[in-house]
Symmetry: C2
Subunit: 366 residues, 2 copies
């Protein structure tokens, strides 16, 4: 078996020790005689697994008291509908659009608001500049009475990342943040958010699980039409188990949380992310064969889109990369070119191998 360096944007590479442990425990978890996939979600074994996962997740993100952690289904895309259903309450919500994902969230919220009442405002967009930078403060017009302000803190396709220390809009409205593609890659000041959500399939675990962190005062506002399993208050009251949760995905997420703690927690993880991203961006900025169009202060540490200046070499670049054990580098079809997603599970050696390959490919074809 030879493992490749897998740069998929998601579902994405997972830490090898996590996969090894999962394989070992597949038929028999801790001597109980069955695997995690086969356990009742209400039994004491799985209860211990989910409680430990929540405790580790809370510790990693330093989630303060007064926030619920929910393990839900349907991915971030279902949240795009679930958020207005739960939080709009007949009012108005502000949406900041800085890439494909925040735009999708905005459009789905419009669709839901049109049906349940309430309104959704575009409070700022960088679409006219092809989503190559964050919004400047003077481009954002916020409604002081907004039910919430929605944003995506890391745009997986466009490679634009917000830092909560500097880039969050000044507002007293609850900030609702889609952190799907950079959650757990850096410390976050959770107290600045009303709600954080993240699909698992980048930095957490398998697809089919979405994590929601929500401030207690935002529970209990759901529109009448909200399905029971989509009402945050109902799910909080039932410990995410009104119905059967995605148990195996939660188990893998729990193993990833433990692995992150063993790496030294989010401060250590962030230092590694900075190092990995710098290695790749330095090449992109110094080798004229390649180009990244995102404004430097807006660049994502997790998703690095780039172009070959001679796009006729794209297929040769991808084929050579595959031969070198570097996979899933093709860019999203909406933007073309290449994309390297370098989430927590990607070792520095993987990024170094990519940079070596890119330098070599440029030398051979430049």
């Amino acid at each position: 078996m030879t493992r490749v360096y897998n740069f998929s944007a998601g579902p994405a590479a997972l830490p090898e020790p996590v996969l090894r442990q999962a394989a070992e425990e597949m038929l028999d978890w801790h001597g109980v005689g069955c695997g995690v996939m086969e356990m009742s979600h209400r039994g004491k074994e799985f209860t211990a697994i989910v409680e430990q996962a929540e405790a580790d997740f809370r510790e990693l993100l330093a989630i303060p008291a007064g926030y619920k952690v929910l393990f839900l289904q349907g991915g971030a895309t279902q949240q795009f509908a679930q958020i207005p259903m739960n939080l709009l309450a007949g009012g108005s919500a502000d949406y900041l659009v800085t890439g494909s994902w925040s735009k999708k969230a905005y459009k789905e919220a419009q669709h839901i608001a049109a049906a349940i009442g309430g309104s959704v405002r575009l409070a700022g967009s960088t679409e006219s500049e092809a989503f190559t930078r964050l919004l400047r403060a003077d481009e954002i017009s916020l409604d002081p009475n907004a039910a919430y302000v929605h944003l995506c803190t890391n745009e997986t396709i466009h490679g634009v990342e917000l830092r909560d220390a500097d880039d969050l809009p000044a507002t007293s409205a609850p900030i609702v943040a889609d952190m799907s593609s950079h959650i757990l890659s850096r410390p976050v000041d959770v107290s600045r958010y009303g709600m954080i959500y993240a699909g698992a399939q980048k930095n957490i675990g398998p697809s089919g699980l979405v994590m929601v962190v929500i401030r207690d005062d935002l529970l209990g506002r759901a529109a009448a039409v909200t399905p029971s399993v989509m009402d945050y208050r109902v799910m909080a009251d039932n410990g995410s188990m009104l119905n059967t949760p995605p148990t195996y995905a939660i188990y893998i997420a729990g193993l990833v949380f433990r692995w992150l703690k063993a790496q030294g927690g989010l401060a250590a993880i962030e230092a590694r992310a900075v190092e990995k991203a710098k290695l790749l961006y330095d090449l992109l900025d110094t080798n004229p064969f390649y180009e990244n169009r995102v404004a430097p202060a807006s660049r994502s540490r997790m998703n690095v889109p780039f172009l070959l200046r001679d796009e006729s070499l794209n297929e040769a670049f991808l084929a050579g990369a595959r031969e070198a054990g570097l996979t899933q580098l093709k860019g999203h079809k909406s933007v073309g070119g290449m994309r390297a997603s370098i989430y927590n599970a990607m070792p520095l050696a993987g990024v170094a191998a990519l940079v070596d390959y890119m330098r070599d490919f440029a030398a051979r074809h430049g």
Copy 2:
């Protein structure tokens, strides 16, 4: 490692060969250098996996042309809301209530109908008889103009099972059936249904996946408020991939489908189910130490609730069973007593071991 016989109602025991293969392929699927959990859902490898899974599922159930197969999230409980959102269309739906699950579906449909318009009728219920039998034809009052008739063909908690050959109501309205806990345990005449759905975590695979089989003419009726990921037509148009599907759960389901085919398909599986159920019911009907209260013609082959006539022995029964490697036999809290779920993955030897244990326990304590 010693595997137990796991009688959990769900998530439930999976076939050992499936788990072994999953463990072997965890870090490297078919030599591609990464596991299934780490693959892009849009790559050619996962596309092959999901297409094979759908083809095998269609073959097993002999699904005719004119039906879509969807791989969705949220479990059957989310379907309880999604069905009226998609199919009510301002009309009226009939619900048959034969146990806890169909009652939950009815209540959730009432909740949704009250918000989106339309109505939901109770077309028959056996609740006054503690859900111990199916409805008789003369107890069912159907609306000939119903948008659909909803029923649950196997009640996991109460152990009541409908056969589509005999027990489906006579109606020209589309029948919508929750088959979560007995799908793939017997051949089904799919053409008699407008829609079939099933949470995966009993006879299919991990929790977090729900299979939907829906007739083409029922697509495109969704209420305006329906979230995009919950609109059957949108998901059908996008091959269940408007967003990232639960890829690993689909992969495991696909392995289970192949295992079922290797067992000889659903006719062979049904013969085994008949044999296993007979072994257990014969004991329950002949040993006065135990009791099953479900009318014989209504009894489930998958979920067998039973009582010890002397309930003060319940804890001793469960403790002795655990020692004998027979787990998860405690009944659902709403009905008490015991329950043995004997899905496809439970070998005859497991049921035989349970029957031996029960006979021995009765002899020792009778």
